[in-house]
């Protein structure tokens, strides 16, 4: 690890990180070229070139105001190369999966793809039994005979040309999930994509890519879960394209180990009348950044963005959203809640842009944060950028602690201090948890929050 390297200035450390990551990316691209179709090779090359040009975000970069890139860059040189990590640690993956509770236990009837350190684990994955025309497969399995649609969809949103971490993801593209639901097909069963980062035998890195594509009037529910043990750098990119009136419920559950560095980027492109319901739930990770961009590029498209983040100890969670209202009659609702304890640091940086063509926009942004300790810190930046006058836009952000009156009321009903705090904190979280559509996931989340609270209580003692 470069932590033992002599102290250098941040700028040179950043550029060194970039150079070394670039070299590794080139070597990686050359090694994987034989088994990859041409468009994947091109994407890797474009990503590497863009990354070389972009470099890592500087601390002065407004979009990275609340996340220390320096901490990330220290991880980079050692971890950037995903190809070197040994695959197929099925046993440890199983135990990590078990921690996901009812949603992750192997043997249930879910359609699931399981990746361990960025590589598909065929033993734990289950692809069959889906309606005709539905694609639900691993990228690595499709590379041998890639469907046309994959070629059209992979890298379509072009984030790899402008975003340093998406560029890095493209440069190291190895595996991931491809989901396509054709026109008019409604999937009742949720699709589960699990990424296990197993750092029990030393630090690992992975750059998974998830491509979700829904045709006209198609409906699906997709859950992306991130879990694992030990030190890891996970840099996933999710690309979502929704056809006219498609309907996607998308959940990202992040509960990696507290030694994991997680930089997730999701971009969704919505056609006319399409609806996206997004849930971003973060519990684990040492440093977590959840970036979500939703482009409402069809008339009457709508997005609901929910978020919940729990952090304690030295954890750092940065939630970044951008909703781009580019067409008339679109709506968006954002609701992000944060609960912070210990010396944790959280951030909500959300932006709504209404472009000149975005008439009759109805956009709302809400952020509520609960601070449970005096050393926790929250930064909120809810922003509106509006270029059309016929809109209804509001945003609100509030930060505070548990209500003393409510605590007193519960105490007077014979609840202990910690019970009373748990009840109120759980109630605070429930507002987001209750809106998660998959029942087992909802139950799992409630358990998670309760476990988290119990953990806090024992930590305090």
């Amino acid at each position: 690890m470069s932590a033992s390297a002599p102290a250098t200035t941040l700028a040179s450390a950043l550029s060194e990180g970039t150079v070394s990551a670039l070299e590794r990316a080139r070597a990686f691209g050359a090694r994987e070229a034989a088994t990859s179709p041409l468009f994947v090779q091109n994407l890797r090359r474009a990503g590497a070139e863009a990354f070389a040009k972009l470099g890592l975000p500087r601390p002065s970069d407004e979009e990275w105001r609340y996340t220390s890139v320096a901490a990330l860059s220290r991880q980079l040189p050692a971890m950037a190369d995903a190809g070197g990590a040994p695959a197929g640690r099925t046993a440890s993956a199983r135990s990590a999966l078990a921690s996901l509770g009812p949603i992750g236990v192997a043997g249930r009837s879910h359609h699931q793809l399981v990746f361990v350190n960025g590589r598909l684990d065929t033993e734990l994955s289950r692809f069959d039994g889906l309606p005709a025309g539905v694609r639900f497969d691993a990228l690595s399995r499709l590379f041998a005979a890639p469907p046309d649609l994959l070629e059209r969809r992979l890298g379509l949103l072009r984030g790899h040309l402008t975003h340093p971490f998406v560029a890095m993801n493209a440069a190291f593209l190895l595996d991931g999930a491809f989901v396509h639901v054709p026109d008019g097909v409604v999937l009742a069963e949720p699709l589960l994509v699990v990424h296990v980062a197993d750092g029990s035998a030393g630090p690992v890195a992975s750059h998974p890519r998830v491509v979700l594509s829904l045709g006209e009037n198609a409906q699906a529910t997709v859950v992306e879960a991130y879990c694992g043990t030990g030190e890891a750098f996970v840099n996933p990119v999710t690309e979502i394209v929704l056809g006219a009136h498609a309907h996607l419920d998308h959940t990202t559950l992040q509960e990696e180990s507290v030694e994991a560095y997680h930089v997730g980027t999701t971009e969704a492109h919505l056609g006319p009348g399409a609806q996206l319901f997004s849930h971003v739930l973060s519990v684990g990770g040492r440093l977590v950044r959840n970036e979500l961009t939703v482009r409402l590029h069809g008339d009457g498209a709508g997005a609901t963005l929910d978020g919940l983040f729990l952090a304690r100890g030295e954890q750092h969670v940065d939630n970044h959203t951008l909703v781009d209202h580019a067409r008339p009659h679109c709506g968006s609702q954002q609701y992000y809640k944060g609960i912070l304890d210990g010396s944790a640091r959280g951030a909500f940086d959300g932006k709504v842009i209404v472009r000149p063509a975005g008439a009759f926009t109805d956009a709302h942004q809400k952020n509520r944060n609960l601070l449970l300790s005096d050393t926790a810190r929250i930064d909120a930046k809810p922003q509106l950028e509006i270029y059309n006058n016929d809109v209804k836009c509001t945003h609100g952000s509030a930060t505070g602690r548990l209500d003393a009156d409510a605590l007193f009321y519960l105490r007077s009903r014979a609840l202990s201090e910690s019970q009373a705090r748990s009840v109120l904190t759980l109630a605070f979280a429930s507002e987001i948890v209750d809106r998660v559509p998959v029942a087992p996931l909802k139950a799992h989340l409630t358990d998670r929050v309760l476990g988290w609270l119990a953990g806090n209580a024992s930590e305090a003692r």
Binding site: P356, D379, A380, L384, H395, R401
Partner: protein, 481 residues
């Protein structure tokens, strides 16, 4: 008449203060170097320490770059093309009383409606009038001196109260603060100085009226207000400039210091020339204003009505250092035609139980771009801090923009922070309701716009509230709140 036509009529009013006063002026050559800085200092017969301070600022400025983060765009400013000093030629020792002031200047202020003559005693406002780089008249000095209040131009204060100036100059906005404040520190020419001693409640409203007259000049004034323990003062500031096709730079610094239990209320009606309807000309208003609530239970309140300037870059802030101190910010910002406003506030909570309120109302019309950029930061030490922010935007017309960028940084769980914002146009239902009550379309629009800005306007002292309402291009029915 459709509501759109009324809106365009309301928003197309001509700038009324655009005349040029023909007085003989003394101007320095354009450009900025140590020689110019020294020449400004020599012109004002300043002591060595102040010259040294200016030069320190100038040298620091050379190493700084212009801030680019604001949501405004303008062609690069050539700082060597600006004249850093312009003053009406007057008698050698400066005017001793109003009788000595050039009558042309008096007529200028008469035209602007500023009561310079003491007969304006009825108005009950003491005025310091700043014309280009110098203060031309300060009224009511004797009656203020009787109660111990010092109110004079900055250059006089340097000579007559050097200890006070030395103690407080740069104590809130240090010369290293930011690009424009540092530039101001190097070349500031004049401004107002006000000192309210312990326990004194200033008996009248104090006011400074700034006027840019000379072409190609920049105006760099500096205002310093100190309220000692238990003192209170209300201060008003107004600004206008002639119509010109070129852009002029105005980079002022305002520093407020409030000690224990002191109260300072600072109101601004900013009406610099905003440029014509095609965005040509106008003032670049790049101003640093900051107040320090140094004492316990002190209070600083900023109220601003920003209707002028082609570009506004201004964030009146409060450093809430003393326990139980209070900061307030009330703002109405109007961006019309091609005006750009990036304005807001910063509330820095350090002391215990500090409280702050932010109410910002942005009105965008024409091609105007209005941005609220505000920061609330709660330090770990600010136990029990409380903040409430409300930022609303009203859009009149479909080519303008309204943006809200709040930054909320909280480092203690005992703080309670709330921020709310909304953006909308005048609702058809609101207009319809007014219309069916017998109001004309115009009256209905005026009523709604006034109602929108009312919460801020009512914080202004009476005289300014009237001016502000007129400036918003709408007449207020009934009494001013």
């Amino acid at each position: 008449m459709s509501s759109n036509e009324i809106l365009s009529e309301l928003t197309n009013q001509e700038y009324r203060h655009g005349f040029v006063t023909d007085v003989e002026s003394e101007v320095f050559r354009p450009g900025l170097d140590e020689e110019i800085v020294a020449a400004i200092s020599a012109k004002k017969k300043e002591p060595q320490w102040l010259l040294d301070w200016r030069l320190k600022a100038y040298r620091h400025w050379l190493g700084m770059t212009e801030p680019k983060w604001a949501k405004v765009s303008y062609p690069p400013i050539d700082y060597q093309a600006i004249r850093y000093y312009a003053a009406p030629k007057s008698t050698k020792d400066g005017p001793q009383s109003l009788a000595d002031v050039d009558p042309e200047l008096l007529r200028t202020y008469e035209k602007l409606g500023v009561p310079l003559e003491e007969r304006a005693i009825l108005a009950g406002v003491a005025v310091d009038a700043v014309f280009d780089s110098v203060s031309v008249a300060t009224t009511f000095r004797e009656s203020l001196a009787k109660v111990g209040v010092i109110f004079c131009s900055f250059s006089e204060a340097v000579h007559q109260h050097p200890d006070l100036v030395k103690k407080y100059l740069g104590s809130v906005v240090p010369y290293t603060d930011n690009f424009f404040a540092t530039l101001n520190s190097a070349v500031f020419s004049d401004g107002s100085f006000c000192f309210v001693p312990k326990g004194v409640r200033c008996p009248m409203e104090l006011s400074t009226y700034f006027r840019i007259n000379q072409a190609d000049t920049g105006q760099f004034e500096r205002t310093l207000i100190v309220a000692e323990e238990g003192a209170s003062v209300s201060y008003l500031e107004g600004c206008t400039a002639p119509k010109r096709d070129t852009n002029q730079l105005h980079a002022a610094v305002v520093e407020l210091v409030a000690l224990d239990d002191a109260k300072i209320k600072y109101s601004t009606v900013q009406n610099w020339y905003p440029g014509d309807k095609d965005g040509k000309g106008g003032i670049y208003n790049f101003v640093t204003k900051r107040g320090k609530c140094a004492g316990k239970r002190s209070k600083i309140s900023w109220t601003q009505v920003e209707t002028g300037s082609s570009i506004t870059w201004k964030y009146p802030s409060c450093i809430l250092l003393g326990d139980d101190s209070v900061g307030e910010f009330y703002s109405v910002a109007l961006a019309n035609n091609y005006q750009q406003a990036d304005t807001g506030t910063k509330m820095i909570h350090i002391g215990k139980n500090t409280r702050s309120t932010i109410v910002s109302k942005g009105i965008s019309a024409g091609h105007g771009q209005n941005t609220y950029r505000g920061g609330v930061s709660i330090a770990k030490s600010a136990i029990g801090a409380r903040n409430y922010s409300q930022c609303d935007s009203l859009l009149l017309g479909d080519k303008c923009g309204a943006h809200t960028f709040p930054y909320l940084d909280v480092k203690t769980s005992t703080a309670q922070i709330e921020h709310e914002a909304s953006t909308s146009k005048i609702g058809e239902d609101q207009l319809f309701y007014c219309r069916q009550r017998g109001l004309t379309n115009e009256d209905a629009v005026s009523l709604i716009v006034n109602g929108f800005a009312r919460r801020v306007i009512r914080e202004l002292p009476m005289e300014f509230a009237v001016e502000a309402t007129k400036l918003l291009g709408v007449s207020l029915e009934g009494s001013v709140g």
